[in-house]
Amino acid sequence: MRLAWVFLGSLGRRRAATLLSFAAIVLGVALGMAVQAVNQAALAEFGRGLRTLAGAADLQVVGPRTGFDEALYARLAARPEVAQASPVLEVRTERIGTTDTLNILGLDLFAVGAVTPALLARPVEIDDRAERESRLTSLAEDSVFLSAAAQTALAVQPGDRLSVYAGSQPLELRVAGDLPGAAEDRRLAVMDIAAVQNHFDRIGRLTRIDLKLVEGLDVQAARAALEPLLPAGVWLEVPQAAEGQASNLSRAYRVNLTLLAAMALITGAFLVFSAQALSVVRRHTELAFLRAIGLARRQLFVWLLAEGALVGLLGAVVGVALGHGLAFGLLELLGGDLGAGFFSGLSPSLRFDPWASGLYVLLGVGAGVAGAWLPARDAADIAPAQALKASDDSALSQRRGHPRLGLALMLMSLPLCALPPIMELPLGGYLAIFGLLAGSILWLPMLASGFARILPLWGPVPVRLAAARLRAAPGMGAVAATGVLASVALVVAMAIMVNSLRDSVDVWLGQILPADLYLRAGRVQSGGVLDEALQARLADVPGVAHVEFTRHDSLRLVPGQPPVALLARPVSSDGRELPLVGSAHAVAEGETAIWISEALHDLQGWRPGDRVQLPLAGSEVSVRVTGIWRDYARQTGSLMLDLADYRRLTGDRSVQDAAIWLTPGADAFSVAEALKSAGGSGALEVTAPGEIRAISLRIFDRTFAVTYVLEAAAVIIGLAGVAASFAALAAARRREFGLLRHLGLTRGQIGGLLALEGSLAAGIGILGGLTVGGAIAWILIEVVNRQSFHWSMDLSVPWLSLLVFAGTLAGLASLAAVLAGRQAMRQDAVLAVREDW
């Protein structure tokens, strides 16, 4: 332990390099921690909400979004397995005059108590009401009970009125009380189930039944007994399944973010590597001396690792703290899903998770140790006698990297890309990215010397010197370039991926929104519908040339999986108006064609030409998969079928949306107004595709806000890497600079030399980073996104941005090199030539 100061103290002597490594690890850990903490908070909140909703239910009956026949409730309630059945009809509505949406649970208060007591309504004494009136408040048809969170969100109190849309009609409700059991939970609204059925035109429909089984009955046994009673598309689920579905839904997104943070951490590790590598070189003789006087090889190795570990530990501890702060800020700014829209309506609160925090501390330490490993091994291999005589950087000069290992790692990435997702995570893709990154870094010295070979050996002295140095000692430049390469690769990959996705989404929006105007019954899809009379009125509005209606529903194809969206709208037999992926499969006469999204293709394994069963209107219907279309909107899968087919199969003639084509010369604005007034109550919303597009892209940008944060962090880390490497290099080369000054180089020339070397190293890093980043982008697009989100996209490289970015980074790197080398240009450094040793 006495040796601690000899080694760990060296961190203090090279404060700049240590600080930068520290900062990189802080950033990596903080980002990872923040993503983790935010997601944990959101999931915990979401899960808590679900548990409140599920209460003591042992099983839940779930079905399509439009629900199922209530007769099932009577059948299930009468079963001996069922102790209590609580029927639920959930509708989504919207407050008139605002964009506030509200999920209303229609419940039977008499059944709720035993199953989901947290949803019991508590009427609040309201002064201006007759006592008699208030007594039956819980059942009154205009009573709505709001959780405290909902009251806050809607800024209402018991006694206030609340106007919402019921279908396309306004409905006046009275806030009759609260939900004491769900005070903290998300925005819950509870009404009597009869009132909801009546007001929202859902007579005879339920969306869920919560079942409490008789004491001691095995859930699986009950399930087996009850399942045969269920119509097609209606399933029994254990309540935890919904939580799992939500967790799965956001998992891919979260894992993506976390792994990006991990890549930042890896960049940090490279930074530690370069700092340690240079420090070891600088202390070559010192270490040789220690070995000479009896320090064992192993001790030296461990102590040098400890240096990295200490930096990692400090960085990780600060990073965990910073991460929690960052998480707090992100929660405030973007919400629990970091802007991705998975957990709307939640207000999660941050909790300190000692296990996750501990893990991130370990990761930080690991990054430090990993970074210190190679330099420590090199140092341990020092032959003391030789090293005591040799000059400074001769050891490093000769390093040519490990090109074979690098090549092997990069080649290994190829088969990894072909791996299917593991536990629905694109682990192969991530490993391939890591392999590419690590392999390319091992290849860097080769790249550097190759690069130097094409550099001219003429021109001004600094150019010659820089070129000669790079040519003779590529390892030196490579060390400085590692951090740059890692961060540039990360940024480039993300930039290409996000740009590709954004462009693809943009194009897709254009394809999916071909009409002049879009109309829907309220902003909330499941809330309002357009009945047949209204559909006819809309088609008759002057200026309307053509109307296509869309019916939205959701189907549950497999229990335990999130529902799949169903869109019924006019589709041509070859699907030419759809954003198709691949070609369509012809459908025989009399067959019902469906078009599935890529997610459905991936998740269900359906292929064009397959004959599959769809649970429509409570029975199984055989349909033919005709083609695959691209759907960026619904991650859990969607399928489309012709509206006429849908109506024929279900008898359901209502729709929610309409796409409207105008007659030539018609004024879009006045037609929109006419359409709105056709609905009467102001419940219809008409938008132009441009607006939808703008809103969609705004949401998109919000979703990727976090990745921008990560990119910024990567750039900062990369620059820090350049600065740290050059600070260390410059310090190590004080004697060299001193000699050059003796020989007559001006300070300016040495500055130029340093800047040039900085640009060269950064240039190599940038060049490598661009190449590797491009490859990583390909993996992100073709493997990671495909497997995480089940969508494909067209590659689109933001050349200009990348060019500007690369140029700026090279410039900044030279600046960083000059700043770092300024110390070396000081007068006393010149004298270092004759320092005794």
């Binding site: 006592e131 007594r135 059942l139 009154a140 009869a194 059925q197 009546n198 007579i203």
Partner: protein, 371 residues
């Protein structure tokens, strides 16, 4: 008369206000209160017909079937039991086509007074009618709520209860015709005849069946009492609580008495019905019924004092009422805060036990939180 108690029992469900709503608020005028819904009115002179009037009367605001009695198993001491089914017309959702429309609610409350336990066991159920989960018949007595039921079959009732810590399945055989309370079943509750109900009793029911206590099932037999009462206008203004008793006499006779109690403890209204062993029935008015508390018991849980031994003057005769056990307080503060006393009683005349039945006392605690 146990109406209010029953309401309190209902209040014991997690729905205090719904239950309380069974009862028109003080000062209101019953059927006329609700502008949208016209409740049937209780008018003098109606002749009750059987078995139709054993069934439900959904046009009225409230109705209940109330069974109390003493049972004896194969071993051990006698114990009391009670089961009440309430029907409530809410006036809500009359036009709603939904099968869930809460036009009629059913609520049930059951208890066992077991001296070995030293206090009551009780449980409750509530539901809106419909979906075969809860319902009633209008042509005979038949109400059911999940697996609780009370049903008339020819000359007997059958009732089943599956509560949390007890259960019973009893057959209650008629031993005579129904006993009409008040004026041929028109039972006034206050000086104002507007506050009244249709009310008949079936005393001296011969009970056979099974009771499950602590998981042990045993055959039981005994005697019980059934009240069936319906109304749209109830609680008179100025009454703070009431005392009711229904007793089967050993000689085959029966005695029902109640009084509506003012806050100062005096009677606002009182009434009694006495059936003699020869089947003759006598209806007695307020001046002929007097209640005298003899012994009080203080609840260790609530601190409330109840008069649990009474002297009763019915006409010219005096009786003494003694409880099966002191603690028959029903404490549902945990859910609603309502507290009352309802328990098995022995009837003495001249120090001799002449009958057994049930006593119900409400309004002795701090303000009853009924709404």
């Amino acid at each position: 008369m146990h109406r209010r108690t029953c309401l309190l029992a209902l209040a014991g469900l997690p729905l205090p206000r719904i239950l309380a709503a069974v009862e028109p608020s003080a000062g209101s005028n019953g059927a006329e209160t609700d502008s949208k819904v016209a409740f049937d009115a209780v008018l003098p002179g109606r002749v009750l017909r059987f078995p139709d009037d054993e069934g439900a009367h959904p046009g009225f605001r409230t109705e209940w079937w109330y069974v109390t009695g003493w049972l004896k198993g194969t071993e051990g001491d006698p114990f009391g039991f009670q089961i009440t089914f309430f029907r409530v017309r809410t006036g809500i959702g009359e036009d709603n086509p939904s099968a869930f429309a809460p036009r009629q609610l059913l609520l049930a409350h059951a208890a066992i007074a077991d001296p070995r336990l030293g206090r009551l066991r009780h449980d409750q159920r509530a539901a809106r009618t419909g979906f075969e989960r809860a319902g009633y018949a209008t042509d005979r007595a038949h109400v059911r709520l999940d697996d609780w039921s009370f049903e008339q079959m020819d000359d007997h009732y059958v009732t089943r209860v599956n509560a949390e810590d007890f259960a019973y399945d009893l057959r209650l055989a008629f031993t005579g015709p129904p006993m009409f309370n008040g004026d041929q079943g028109f039972s006034r509750k206050a000086p104002d005849p507007y506050h009244a109900s249709y009310y008949y009793s079936r005393p001296q029911l011969q009970v056979d069946g099974q009771v499950t206590l602590d998981g042990r099932r045993q055959a039981v037999s005994g005697r019980a009492w059934m009240d069936h009462e319906w109304s749209s206008a109830y609680s008179p203004e100025g009454a703070d609580g009431w005392d009711w008793v229904g007793l089967n006499l050993d000689d085959g006779g029966a005695l029902m008495a109640f009084r509506m109690r003012r806050p100062d403890g005096t009677a606002l209204w009182a009434s009694a019905t006495r059936r003699f062993s020869d089947g003759r029935t006598q209806s007695l008015g307020p001046e002929q019924v007097e209640w005298f508390p003899i012994r009080r018991w203080q609840s260790p849980r609530t601190g409330i004092e109840y008069p649990i031994e009474w002297d009763l003057r019915i006409g010219e005769r005096r009786y003494r009422l003694q409880p099966l056990m002191d603690d028959q307080e029903l404490d549902s503060r945990r859910s609603t805060g309502t507290i009352y006393w309802e328990g098995a009683m022995r009837l003495f005349e001249d120090e001799r036990e002449i009958g057994r039945g049930y006593l119900e006392m409400t309004g002795y605690g701090n303000r009853i939180q009924v709404g």
